[in-house]
Point group: C2
Chain length 475, copies 2
């Protein structure tokens, strides 16, 4: 069977685009290096029609398909398992921007288009594509949509699903749904677009998307504030929403220890105010008028915050460069954590109003249960999304610590998340990594609905099997 399939795939995309030997780790190993799989082959089609033919051939051979874009999944969602039987369907060759419509504020791109290239295409026309995340130089829009990526501007512009107006999708049967559309309103039936977005390649292959663009702001301003507590950070968020309205495009919180790690491992990078308060906050403001107006707006906000006591001290970046440097501090937390040693990552969300109590409860719980544990708490507070990460105690062996404690700590954190009405995966998705946890923490009726939909759209289970929905229910 397999040689026949390989022959068929070769005749569809050409021999140069069916990879079976050599170093395939770029396709077989996940971004965080947690999983090294083995593919039957990597196939790289260059058109929607080729994707459809590839899917048909794989379905006929009953070979599982793993759709892959930039392979930057943080939950092991886009690499093959170790069986050597799965076909990696890599979309990087489908990287064209098909069109940009200025009057309609839309752009249509193929799935393999790198996020940064889409941002650039918008910028060149004086417009903005607001999806922005750490891996934007590598990740592709197909993967962003498949995983409903979040990032740093969700507070204002929403998640990836909120930025997409239409899709072109190859179904598990190899049919093409021509759903590209530049329409802001379309109530002709079920919302198929949002079924495929966030389904992590388990229901079909996104081959292209029509995306929303926005006018560029006249000025981008950044501020940094030290806040006396998480409660104060939430208060400051409310104040910022009231003062800046939709001008508020980002609101990040960073705990003292997270900033201490940046300061320790990147000594050349100035970290403001971190020793003065348990948390600091980073705010972005996009102003439609000009820099002076934006500055005045931010300063008025911060004065009110200082007066009300929800900020202890604050600075407004005096230049774009200084603003970027403040963001660099925020974005260096993950690298600083890595430099400090192996660690446990969480990507959780909660109602914003529940965050102060969640943090107080869970900080105390972990301190009690895991002696010497060090919490690296930071995230997109404006979206209720925390990266509530865990570093091993000082002087401990990180690998040993993870081996002994990771599952225990995950359980403690996830149970606290559920207790406070939250989600165990805010923006990274489920992939393979959280597929088993999903069965423990997700509403059983929701799981049953998900299974029914999977069965209806992909009855043969060829699309990314075992991701999102685990192969079997745990007992």
């Amino acid at each position: 069977m397999k040689p026949v399939l390989l022959q068929q795939l070769t005749s569809i995309v050409g021999a140069a685009h069916v990879l079976t030997s050599g170093d395939l780790s770029a396709y077989e190993r996940d971004w965080r290096g947690r999983m090294q799989g083995k593919a039957l082959c990597v196939v790289k089609p260059e058109s929607t029609d080729e994707v459809a033919q590839v899917v048909k051939a794989c379905a006929a051979a009953d070979a599982a398909i793993v759709p892959q874009g930039g392979n930057t999944s943080l939950v092991v969602g886009a690499v093959p398992d170790a069986s050597g039987t799965q076909v990696v369907l890599n979309l990087q060759r489908m990287s064209r921007i098909r069109s940009l419509d200025k009057a309609n504020l839309t752009l249509t791109a193929e799935a393999g288009c790198i996020l940064h290239n889409i941002q650039q295409a918008a910028t060149q026309e004086g417009l903005l594509f607001p999806l922005s995340l750490a891996s934007e130089g590598t990740c592709t829009i197909g993967g962003n949509l498949g995983s409903n990526a979040g990032g740093t501007q969700v507070l204002r512009y929403g998640n990836a699903r909120d930025l997409c107006l239409g899709l072109e999708v190859v179904t598990p049967q190899g049919d093409v749904w021509h759903g590209l559309s530049g329409l802001r309103k379309d109530n002709t039936g079920y919302d198929l677009r949002n079924i495929f977005i966030g389904s992590e390649g388990t229901l079909g292959v996104i081959t292209a998307a029509t995306l929303k663009l926005y006018p560029q702001a006249a000025a981008e301003l950044t501020a940094w504030a030290a806040v006396p507590s998480m409660h104060a950070a939430v208060q400051l968020l409310g104040l910022a929403q009231q003062h800046l309205g939709a001008g508020l495009t980002g609101f990040e919180v960073m705990g003292e220890f997270a900033l201490q790690l940046v300061s320790r491992h990147f000594p050349a990078l100035p970290v403001p105010l971190w020793q003065t308060a348990p948390y600091c906050v980073l705010l972005s403001h996009s102003d439609t008028e000009n820099e002076a107006h934006g500055n005045a707006q931010l300063e008025r906000l911060l004065e009110t915050a200082l007066h009300q006591g929800c900020a202890a001290d604050a600075v407004v970046a005096s230049s774009l460069a200084q603003g970027r440097q403040l963001w660099q501090v925020r974005e260096s937390i993950s690298s600083a954590q890595a430099a400090e040693g192996l660690n446990i990552k969480h990507d959780i969300s909660l109602p914003v109003s529940a965050i102060p109590d969640f943090v107080a409860h869970t900080d105390a719980l972990l301190a009690r249960e895991v002696e010497g544990v060090r919490l690296v708490n930071f995230g997109h507070l404006g979206d209720g999304n925390l990266h509530y990460n865990v570093q091993c105690p000082v002087g401990g062996n990180a690998a040993d610590f993870l081996a002994v404690q990771e599952q225990h700590i995950n359980t403690l954190v996830f149970e606290a998340v559920i207790k406070f009405g939250g989600s165990i995966s805010a923006e990274h998705g489920v992939g393979s990594l959280k597929a088993d946890s999903l069965h423990l923490y997700k509403d059983p009726v929701a799981l049953q609905l998900m299974r029914s939909i999977k069965q209806a759209i992909d009855p043969q289970n060829v699309m990314n099997p075992g991701r999102v929905l685990a192969k079997k229910n745990p007992p």
Copy 2:
């Protein structure tokens, strides 16, 4: 079977809440009076648990269920057919606002809560629930979500689906999906929320929803401009988006004849500038600072527009009252049309950039094909949504005209819509009225996916059968 079902329903909700006799037209006749159905009974549960029991009893008796809120569907989506066998499940007694969370900017309401009451609950806390439409004093949030309602502020805040963070749903099997959530990010599996939103009661019964709230603007400003062409209206929209950013909350276009009808049938209502240009535009601007700032912003925009020639003349409302009067002109078009006589309504959407060519093409086509036809063209231009309506020729008998021409005109308009990349239902949905048309104009793979989903979630076809998906495919 039926007496048994009626007994069961009575024992679930109480005899007072199972209606079988008397004048049931409020439940059986649709909002526009196009359809008078006959129900087996109208059942009015007061809790989610009662809804679940009702659904279980109906499913066991194989009785079709028609979920109903305020019964304001414009596409005959919420009334029973004439068979006397369908159960109207009216949710008006489930009208509580369960909670409001100021720090999280969310409100949880039951499905039968009237839209206006939700707006008021938000206002009382100094917040905004931005969904706003003509029937807001009668329609319910369950119906708004079931039909993914649009309205006048979609440009800034999106459709109903964009304002909903979580749902509670009774499935066709009578199970309860507890999906209420105040989370802005949740990537734990398929997007069930958006499957139920816009499914028009064909996949389950929405019993409650968690909705997004926003800070109130500091000032609301309104402007009115005469524009020399539809092309100029689109240009002005682009300019307004650039100048006002997210401050632009509404952008409506109204054709000369639409305004002439308002002027004729509501002579006490001043209609500015309508005799000076083929189209007028109504803009709303929400300012986060104050009235003076908002005014200055609007005036700067309009000066630029006059200078660039995309506006011929313009006024800014000098007070909230005057602003409301301008909106009243816009909102009187439908009544003015009714006063002029029976007419044909369309609710179409197009890429904004395609609208000038679509209108030029379709205006000419209809003038050629239907002698003396009068077009009442108006709508939410900012969303690409036109109510491209048709009034019979001067002196004609409107009823005769509709009998002879309605289907022909629908076909001409729908074919033009598809030619220009649009949708035949922008915000009203499909219901019974457009279920047959859907089969002619929707992508066949999309239709097949919709059918698979319906079959997976409601295999017994008890939920609102024949709506959205027609009972049988037309040949």
